[in-house]
Structures are given as structure tokens and as C-alpha cells.
Subunit: 155 residues, 2 copies
């Protein structure tokens, strides 16, 4: 419920033309958000990325590690590390791919799903915290635009 972490006041330099560059805006909001998210997830021994993997493992979509790497914009070797950690903690398991036996499908355990439920609540709170300056409709619109910019069309 506390509101901290994001700039409260418009900094002097935001007046510069660069204050309108998408790249910078994304970098800043992403940086501030990661801080908040990682802080919120720390109680569960998770970070943004391990949480992402856990979420997808709980999604029922049965992602392979390769899909995780592509979707999360990570190197495959980074996914190995993330899954190693989650598996060691009994939150996730590697199952053999169904059509492709090279691939490993990441699925959640019962504990993993319990953990995810709790962590999800914390993350949603953090997200709300990050977007306090926006109304509910604006937040929805922001997400819609981000999704559209990423994978076009949809709705």
C-alpha cells in the first residue's frame, strides 16, 4: 500500500526532447518496475524472471524451455538456470516433450501452484503501486498498446 520507488516529481531533464523517446521511457519504467516487483517477490524467494517461469509453468500451456527463452527474451542457458532453481525447490518439474523428446516441458507442482498464487497477489499489488498515476482505464489502455506494439492486431 505504500507508494515508493517511482519518481514522484517530474525531473528537470524530462523537458528535453529525450523525455519523449520511447526507448528511454520504456527503460525507465521498466527499471522502476523491476525494482518494485523484485522487492515484492523477495518474500517468496522469487525474482521477476523466476516468477515468469513459474507462472508459465502454472498456465497449463506446457511450455518447452525453448519457448520460454523466446517468449521471455532470454538466452536458452538462462532458462536452464531459472528452471534448475525452481526445480530444486520443488516448485516445478521437467517433463519429457510429447512430440519432441529433445524438448523438456516445464510443469508446476502442487507446491509451485500454491507459491504462485501467493506471489501473484504480491505482484499484482506491486503493479498497481507502479501505476498509481494512471486511472484504471489508462492502465488497461497502456497494457493494450504494449501488447499491440509487441504482437500486433489482437484485442
Amino acid at each position: 500500500m505504500a507508494t515508493l520507488g517511482t519518481d514522484v516529481q517530474t525531473p528537470r531533464l524530462a523537458a528535453a526532447r529525450i523525455g519523449n523517446d520511447v526507448g528511454l521511457l520504456l527503460a525507465k519504467l521498466h527499471a522502476a518496475g523491476s525494482l518494485l516487483n523484485n522487492k515484492a517477490l523477495a518474500d517468496f524467494g522469487l525474482r521477476e524472471r523466476s516468477f515468469s517461469v513459474l507462472t508459465l509453468a502454472c498456465s497449463g500451456l506446457e511450455p518447452t524451455q525453448r519457448e520460454l527463452a523466446d517468449f521471455l527474451s532470454l538466452d536458452p542457458s538462462q532458462v536452464v538456470t531459472l528452471v534448475d532453481d525452481l526445480e530444486r525447490r520443488g516448485l516445478v518439474e521437467r517433463a519429457q516433450g510429447k512430440q519432441d523428446r529433445r524438448a523438456k516441458i516445464i510443469v508446476s507442482t502442487a507446491e509451485g501452484r500454491k507459491m504462485h498464487t501467493k506471489a501473484r497477489a504480491a505482484l499484482d499489488a506491486a503493479e498497481l503501486d507502479q501505476l498509481t498515476a494512471l486511472s484504471g482505464e489508462e492502465s488497461q489502455e497502456l497494457k493494450r498498446l504494449l501488447r499491440k506494439a509487441l504482437w500486433g492486431a489482437a484485442e
Copy 2:
């Protein structure tokens, strides 16, 4: 004019709940954008960050390194490295702070401004490329929302 770098098709995993998390959306769009931007700036020997510093040096706002660090969400020591590089290349100079002699004000040289003009054009093209899926109005709205999320109010 080429359209490459961002996902063209909606990936299977985007259906998961996480496909609506601001954190992930920001991370992905930021990652894809950085790739595009750095590629566009490579011709000038610049990267996203050195370009940001150069832009602010050209802004007339006379930023100190501390302000740059805060604004760009960087550690002060990272700013030292960035300015070192730009200064070595004669694009930027360190001037003594006016009220505070500890601070160094970063100002552009004539060459720096020429370089910036050219690089700016390349970056704007890259940005346009990144947001092809959005209409002009949507792009503006996206920027507005990002700014508002970061520093509230305004308009």
C-alpha cells in the same frame, strides 16, 4: 524502412495470464527496442545510453553528471564511463558547475551537435519501425501514458 526485429506473430504463450503483466510487456518491448535502437545507432559509434547523454548534452539544460545518473536510472560511475567516451571523441565536454564546483556540467561541442542531428534521425526511424503496429495516435497515446506513469500529471 525494413521491418524486422519485433515479433510479427503472437506467440502461443502470450495467451497466459503473464501476457498481461506490465512487467513482462515492458521488458519485452524494451528488449526489442534496444536491439533496434542500438543497431540504428551503431553507424555513429553510439549506443542507446551514450546517445541519451549526447542528447541531454545538446539540450541546453546543462545537466550535471548526477542529474544524468538520476534521470537515466544509472549508477554515477556508469555516467563517468559514458562521458569519458564521448569526451574522448570530442562530442562533449565537462564544464565546471556554476553554483557547485564539485559538479561537472556536460555540454556538447559543435561536432557533438552535428553527430546528434544525424543520430537523432536514425533513432526516430528506428522508433517508428518499432511501433509500426500502432497508429500515429496510438503511439502518441502510448508515450503519454508512459510519461504519466513515470512522472504523473503533466500534459
